[in-house]
């Protein structure tokens, strides 16, 4: 057989071989047999000098064409074998395997609410202030316009350490301490634990409050309403409405309870013809108490007569219960992981 026909016969043989190649390994063997350094094509090429010089270019050109087309055929088969292998391994991959269960940490709902509230007021320019949980009567009551034997003390049943030392019943003593330490103008927000001698389904004898105080010249109740409107809209949504209801606290005058339009029913009082469970059908939810600082409180801290200010306070657990739909107050301090890990 002459060299040319030997060259031409390579391609059909390779074709037959490729059709049989079932694995990448077989394919590689075939490639070495035909296209390897000592393969059949190389052997034919090595006989080139034996050809008539006139035929050499033609042979050489043909051999190169053949090499390229064979390589292309190999690559094509190799790609399809690789793709088949990927497909096979993908078929074994189980994307439904659950992820590794790393530890799931959580923050207490009281923390979430306190941090959220404090962040809103810090954004508005309030500083955070804190004070002791064990207080003296003077800061907790007297300086807040609640002298001994004042009936308003009934509003806050107190846990005492001695006759004069007690567990603070509200965060308000921090108002007094802050005003004694700083001159107006000032704006502070006070988060913290408070204590009452009161325990039933809706009261725990420890709970959390956040209290705010702003003192400056020419502060009016309109400013109080403005600040609280910003606050409740941040927490409960931008369309929340605020209602001020006359009330009484010894350390503010006038005093108001603040209701917000119910965030669940939108203030209409019912959902699908059933009374709303959050506002009990009234359309309003009580969220905090507030008022203009009573002149007696300014007097107790020797503030000048030309300042005015407002204060407000809210129960953290109450806000958490409203916001997250928690029904039972006692859960807050049982620390059941099934509760904690939801936050």
């Amino acid at each position: 057989m002459d060299l040319i026909s030997a060259l031409e016969s390579l391609e059909p043989e390779l074709e037959a071989g490729l059709a049989q190649a079932s694995s990448l390994e077989k394919l590689e063997e075939l490639r070495i047999e035909f296209l390897g350094r000592k393969g059949r094509l190389a052997k034919l090429m090595s006989q080139l000098p034996s050809l008539d010089p006139a035929e050499r270019p033609k042979f050489g050109q043909r051999a190169n064409e053949l090499k390229e087309s064979c390589n292309a055929r190999f690559d094509k088969v190799k790609d399809s074998l690789l793709a088949a292998r990927e497909r096979a391994s993908l078929a074994r991959f189980d994307s439904s395997t659950p992820g590794r269960k790393y530890w799931q940490g959580s923050l207490h709902p009281d923390t979430l609410i306190m941090e959220e509230i404090c962040a809103i007021f810090e954004k508005l320019g309030f500083d955070i202030a804190q004070g002791p949980e064990v207080e003296i009567d003077h800061y907790n009551f007297e300086a807040l316009n609640m002298p001994p034997e004042h009936p308003a003390r009934d509003m806050q049943d107190t846990l005492y350490i001695t006759d004069n030392i007690l567990l603070r019943t509200h965060t308000s003593p921090v108002q007094v301490r802050t005003m004694l330490a700083r001159k107006p103008p000032l704006a502070v927000v006070v988060p913290g634990k408070v204590y009452r001698r009161d325990s039933d389904l809706t009261h725990t004898h420890m709970f959390h409050q956040v209290e705010g105080l702003l003192v400056d010249k020419n502060i009016s109740m309109a400013h109080l309403r403005g600040i609280l409107t910003v606050f409740v809209r941040d927490v409960f949504g931008p369309s929340t409405e605020v209602r001020f209801r006359q009330s009484f606290f010894p350390f503010t005058e006038p005093s108001a309870e603040v209701d917000i339009s119910c965030f669940l029913c939108g203030g209409v009082g019912h959902i699908d013809n059933e009374p709303c469970r959050v506002c009990k059908g009234t359309g309003w939810v009580e969220v905090l108490g507030c008022g203009m600082v009573d002149p007696a409180v300014f007097e107790a801290v020797n503030y000048p007569k030309d300042v005015s200010g407002f204060a407000f306070g809210l129960g953290v657990e109450r806000i958490a219960m409203l916001k997250y739909g928690i029904g039972d107050l006692r859960m807050f301090f049982e620390n059941d992981l099934r509760f904690l890990q939801q936050f």
Partner: protein, 795 residues
């Protein structure tokens, strides 16, 4: 305060609904808590007429009645009451009616006769305890009407929450005054005609301390017949939540509710020498109050006495020794004003509150005191066929002097942030009953005698604000200020705790919040010293009678709760203050900030691919190491110590010379009490110390190494008690400048062998050049030789 709408209407012609009134009063600061119909249960009871009544053929006490209840047919009812008779108007429960006690009336047979209902006694209707016979209604009563309608009962009652400043609203009159003002209605006190008898009885009144009793007035009513009050009076008291007793006592309560003036009625025959002395009790004096309790009095308790003995605890409760009994003939009626603080002190000390003390504590309208007395006497005379004595016995050492208050409308508008007109403000003051001189600026406003809370301009500003409606104040934003002082202030504890909390949460711990108080026994269980604890004087229970001195008991209580719920892996942390006595502090208390961490149970939730392994020392220590790294305060060292009240082993955590806290394992005996079967690992860090370390820490960048490092592993074999720390310490002693790091990489104990194989990875690096293999081998060998010499180990 329970307010009957029909009673209110006797004072002011309010014609709207109870709900509308309640809503308006709520916005005025008198919050409507509830709208009640105290007689809802009687709405099914109907009025009837006994058409005929004859003896039951087979019974000597039963009667067969035919009763007209306004239906076509007469009802046959068998009635056992002795007083039932033909021609009576009666209250009838027809078949199917549910009685106030829950019983349902059914058709029944009594000795062969069918009964189609029941004729009711007052007790069966819940109106009184009287069950001697059926209730006989007024002959003019309409037949076939629901009983509460026919008898004009108070069926609309507003339950109002009255804040402590509004003493004036603890009466029908006071609430009528608010209603009249709010709805622009007239206010009138209905007349009770009073005629005096031809007697004048002196009862001398002596007030020892005029500061404790400002006014004491009394009048005698003669020839009284003690009996039950008419139904209308009894029903009114019942609707207001007060039990009817007898005509005399009922009148005192009726006037208290109506006018807000507490009254007391004495049996004059029991007052020795007909004399009243208002004085403080003798220390230790014994006195039996109307509730039959013996009280031991203190020298701070104000008493009403006769010549010999106390006869009442002033303003709180009367005495058994002068009580009105069915035999009483002559009554002495007291109407007084006492010092509110004094009444409150006694009432609180004895835990004895009454409708009277509640009002005295808050303040009484002193100008109404005598009017209330006369009104009461007139009613008593009318209800008990008595005669009112002409003599008013009175001592008033401290007459009411109204405060005159300067009021500037400008101040009010500035504080409220609105623009009220002069006319509006004048209307408000008129409605409140203030005298007013508005020709000058500021105006001069005179305090009404019934408003002890109005003494300052701020109080008046609140009044115009509340009548205008605080809810009508528009929102505005205040200017905010920034100062240099604020910038340099130290960050508050809250911010520091926030940083720690978020770190712990990110690490995978769950934040717990426990009560600040625990039981003394909880601290005892942990073998903690009894000194410096802070007990609570009036705890709610002995479980919570002392402030916590460590975060541990709370975390253990949370552990127990979670184990009871079947939790597998418990990782809790808590940030809080613990408390100890500090006699130098203003509050005699030191509040120490702490971080507590508790690990117990499985290291990981039982889930693929984790092996079920329990938490161990290295878990908790790793957390502490991670915290120190996070805060850049340097590596902590862990020093095991011998003893601790409740941890074993116990390890102190030190950074430099500062002790940050301890960690360790809860002693199994104590863990048992909390039902924990697996090891409980606890750490408690002093956050004041930690904060201090943070303030000293300097975060400084170290340039990255340029030349490569070379790593060599060495395994030391030693006995079981060989410690990792011994080897690390010995290596550290070498101070080899080329040795950059030593890491403990594996621990192996061949089965059946007493040996322990500890492998370490040594990292060598020269910052200035690449190390040659031979050099590294030489350095490694130095380490090996030094260790073989220093410790009983082999390679």
């Amino acid at each position: 305060m329970l307010l009957s709408l029909s009673w209110l209407r006797e004072f002011t012609p309010y014609e709207g609904t109870a709900q509308a009134l309640g809503d308006r009063l709520t916005m005025l600061g008198l919050e409507l808590e509830d709208l009640k119909n105290p007689y809802a249960a009687l709405s099914q009871i109907t009025t009837g007429y006994v058409v005929s009544c004859k003896q039951h053929p087979d019974s000597d006490h039963l009667h067969l009645c035919q009763v007209d209840v306004g239906q076509e047919a007469l009802l046959d009812i068998v009635c056992g009451a002795p007083n039932v008779a033909q021609g009576q108007k009666v209250a009838v429960a027809t078949i199917g009616t549910t009685m106030p006690n829950g019983m349902v009336i059914k058709k029944s047979k009594l000795r062969g006769e069918t009964s189609h209902g029941m004729i009711c006694s007052e007790r069966e209707l819940g109106l009184s305890e009287d069950h001697t016979g059926i209730m006989v209604l007024d002959s003019g009563t309409t037949v076939g009407q629901p009983l509460p309608d026919a008898l004009n009962f108070d069926q609309e009652v507003l339950d109002l929450s009255i804040t402590p400043n509004r003493a004036d609203c603890l009466s029908v009159l006071g609430l009528a005054r608010e209603t009249a003002m709010a709805f622009h209605l007239p206010l009138t006190i209905p007349e009770v005609p009073l005629t005096f008898g031809n007697v004048s009885t002196d009862v001398s009144i002596e007030i020892r301390d005029p500061n404790l009793c400002w006014l004491y007035a009394g009048r005698v009513v003669h020839n009284i017949k003690i009996q039950a009050s008419p139904l209308k009076i009894r029903q009114r008291l019942q609707a207001a939540g007060i039990r009817a007793i007898s005509n005399i006592v009922d009148v005192t309560n009726y006037i208290l509710l109506e006018l807000g003036q507490p009254l007391h009625a004495f049996d004059l025959g029991k007052l020795t020498d007909q004399k009243i002395i208002v004085r403080l009790a003798n220390e230790g004096e014994k006195f039996v109050t109307l509730d039959d309790q013996e009280r031991i009095l203190k020298s701070t308790d104000l008493c009403i006495c006769d010549c010999e003995k106390p006869v009442a605890l002033a303003g709180v409760m009367g005495g058994l020794n002068s009580e009105i009994t069915p035999e009483t003939k002559i009554v002495f009626v007291e109407s007084a004003v006492f010092n509110p603080a004094s009444i409150r002190k006694t009432s609180r000390r004895l835990g004895l509150g009454s409708e009277s003390s509640y009002r005295f504590e808050r303040g009484i309208d002193q100008r109404l005191t005598c009017q209330a007395l006369d009104r009461a006497c007139a009613m008593m005379a009318s209800l008990g066929q008595g005669v009112v004595d002409a003599k008013l016995n009175i001592a008033e050492p401290k007459p009411f002097v109204p405060v005159k208050i300067d009021f500037s409308l400008e101040h009010a508008n500035d504080l409220l942030g609105i623009s009220l007109t002069e006319d509006f403000a004048k209307d408000v003051f008129t409605g409140l009953g203030c005298e007013m001189s508005a020709t000058t600026n500021p105006w001069q406003i005179t305090q009404p005698s019934w408003r002890p809370d109005l003494t300052r301009e701020a109080d008046l500003i609140e009044e115009v604000g509340r009548v205008y409606g605080l809810d009508n104040i528009p929102p505005a934003l205040p200017p905010m200020h920034f100062s240099w002082e604020r910038v340099v202030e130290k960050q508050p504890e809250f911010a520091f705790w926030k940083q720690l909390r978020h770190w712990a949460q990110g690490l995978g711990l769950n934040e717990a919040i426990n009560y600040s108080f625990v039981g003394q026994k909880d601290l005892d269980l942990l073998n903690l010293p009894p000194e410096k604890r802070i007990p609570i004087k009036n705890p709610l229970s002995s479980d919570q009678d002392v402030l916590r001195t460590t975060v541990t008991p709370g975390l253990l209580a949370s552990l127990r709760n979670n184990l009871a719920q079947g939790a597998f892996s418990i990782r809790l942390f808590e940030l809080c203050h613990v408390f100890e006595e500090d006699l130098d502090a203003e509050t005699k208390t030191l509040e120490c900030p702490r971080l507590g961490i508790l690990l117990s149970g499985l290291r990981h939730e039982p889930a693929w691919p984790y092996e079920p392994e329990d938490f161990d020392y290295i878990d908790l220590r790793g957390i502490i190491e991670r915290l120190c790294a996070y805060l850049h305060i340097g590596s902590p060292s862990f020093v095991q110590r011998e003893t601790h009240p409740y941890l074993l082993p116990v390890i102190d955590i030190l950074v430099g010379d500062t002790c940050l806290g301890t960690l360790g394992r809860l002693e199994p005996k104590i863990a048992d009490v909390y039902l924990a079967q697996k090891p409980v690992w606890l750490a408690e860090l002093d956050l004041a110390a930690l904060d201090n370390l943070i303030s000293l820490a300097k975060l400084q960048f170290k340039p990255l190494a340029i030349f490569p490092c070379v790593r060599r592993d060495i395994t030391f074999i030693g006995s079981e008690d060989l410690k990792v720390g011994q080897i690390l310490a010995e290596i550290a002693k070498l101070k080899n400048p080329l040795l950059e790091d030593v890491t403990f990489v594996s621990l192996y104990q061949p089965e059946g062998s007493q040996d322990k194989h500890l492998s370490f990875r040594l990292t060598f690096r020269d910052p200035k050049r690449t190390l040659k293999d031979t050099e590294v081998e030489r350095e490694r060998d130095k380490v090996v030789q030094a260790l073989l010499k220093a410790l009983p180990v082999r390679i």
